[in-house]
Structures are given as C-alpha cells and as structure tokens.
Symmetry: C2
Subunit: 130 residues, 2 copies
Amino acid sequence: MERNTLGQRSTRQRDVIAEVIRTAAGPLTVQEILARAQADVHGLGVATVYRTLKLLQEGEQVRTVILPTGETRYEAAGLGHHHHFHCRVCDEVYDLDACPVRLPESRAIAPGFVVESHELTFYGTCRRCA
Amino acid sequence: MERNTLGQRSTRQRDVIAEVIRTAAGPLTVQEILARAQADVHGLGVATVYRTLKLLQEGEQVRTVILPTGETRYEAAGLGHHHHFHCRVCDEVYDLDACPVRLPESRAIAPGFVVESHELTFYGTCRRCA
DNA sequence: TCGATACTGATACCACGTTCTCGATAGCCT
DNA sequence: AGGCTATCGAGAACGTGGTATCAGTATCGA
C-alpha cells in the first residue's frame, strides 16, 4: 500500500490532542498539551504528542509559535491575524484578537523598510490574576 | 583576591566584541559577532564570544533578544524602547526606533488584560534589498 | 621587568528538546 | 471476526546551543 496523504488512522490519542489545541485559549507548550490530553488518554506519551503535532502541522491545522522567551508553543492554524498576551503572574499565554499596530499607508515603518507582517507579544497581568 | 565586579582585565578580544555589538545596526547572532570580531582579532574563538557576552550581560551592557524564528541574538542594552525589523531577503535584523503600537489609555488590550510591555518584530524588505 | 593570575582557544562535555527504535496494541478493511 | 499494519508508549539516541576544562599566553600592579 502506498503512503497515503490523508489515510491516517483516527486514533483516540490524535483526536484528543487535536481537541486540546482547538479549544485552548492560546498557544500551548508540548508539556501543557501532554498534561491536558493525559486527562483523557491515560498513559499518553510525549512521543505521540510530537508525532501528532508534526502531522497536524503538515495538515496545516497547527502552527508553531516561538515567544520572545524562547518558549515553543503550538496553536490552531487559521485563527486569523492575532497576537499573544503572556501573563507575568501565571505564565499563561492568551490569544488576542485586537491588533493595536498602526502603520502608515505606505507600510514603510522607516525610509526604505517596507513591512509585510509582524509578530507581537504583550506582557502584563491577565484577567484572572488582576 | 576577592571576586571583583569590575576588575576584569581589558583585553583586545573583549574590546573588539563590545565594539562590534555597540556599532551594530541591530541585534547580532553569536556567529555574526564572531565573524565580525575575527576581522580584528585573528583566531578568536566562540568560547570567548560566549564568555564575553555573559560578562557584558552581567554588566547590563548587553541583552538577549529571541526572535519569533527562535534565533537568539544580542544587542546593546540601554537603547531605549525600540523594535526589530527582519528582512526576508537578506535575513539581516535592524533596530527600529518607531513604535506603532497604540494602546488605550487604560492599557487594557482586552477586558482584564492590562499591558505592561510588548515585544514587536516586523518582517519585510529592508532599504538595501528593496 | 617580573610574577601572579585572569584570560584565551580548542575541544570535550553537558542539558534539553525532539526524534528514532522496537515490541506491543489497536484501527480498519474485507 | 481476522489479519494486515499504522500507531502506540517507553526509553534510547540524537542535534544543538551553550559551558567547563586545561595548557599556554597576555595583562597589569609592584
């Protein structure tokens, strides 16, 4: 049988991992994904999380986010333009729909430097920790 | 002799490395620092670059910048609030004095989420690559 | 100038995040 | 239901960025 692109099996592990990411309030670390998924799949291993993340990335359902702290996190793809809020108190990371970046019409942030996209991370205190 | 805070020796290696960082147009990678410093100090090794970076960081003269690509770079401390522009063509990273982030008076980017600081990276084409 | 010793370069080593290996298990097609 | 085989979990192995080691060298106070 040839290596099929979409013919992966549907397993409980994959379903749960995908669901964890889909319902998260922000990008998650591998450890967070593992912990949350383990609540549903007892005995789940890290290797499976990494394997599933790779599959989901190849299927354009998940993308990688690297925060300015160097932490690698994963979030659902196709959320549209958004940014992240990193709470200094609880260290949780949240999605933010608001984009407070105001560029000039020309998209030139400085003479000759034309902006195509940007990545923005906020630091502060989240609603729960206020 | 006790461990002195400022009593390090002044060496050609350290002077050159500090100068390279001080005169850069943006944050540099270790390899970039090494390459540029080697132009002045033949035979300079990476270990010395790492050691000097550590010293400069402890002396608050240099700070670490981790870009959304995951790349670790080093820049002069005390440049004031600024952001970075990563050219997609030449991969060079430049400092930007402009800050196009417009927050509400309350500093609340969303209900309950109060912003204290932010990190912003732009992607696009730089002046030279335009 | 001289000596004590901080510093250097090369390289071995380490930590940590991720991937691979392999025997056991479970999905799914017939 | 039965069998093929993709997937699983555990742990070994890997890659990479950064640090420690060590013998030789350079700095700097006396």
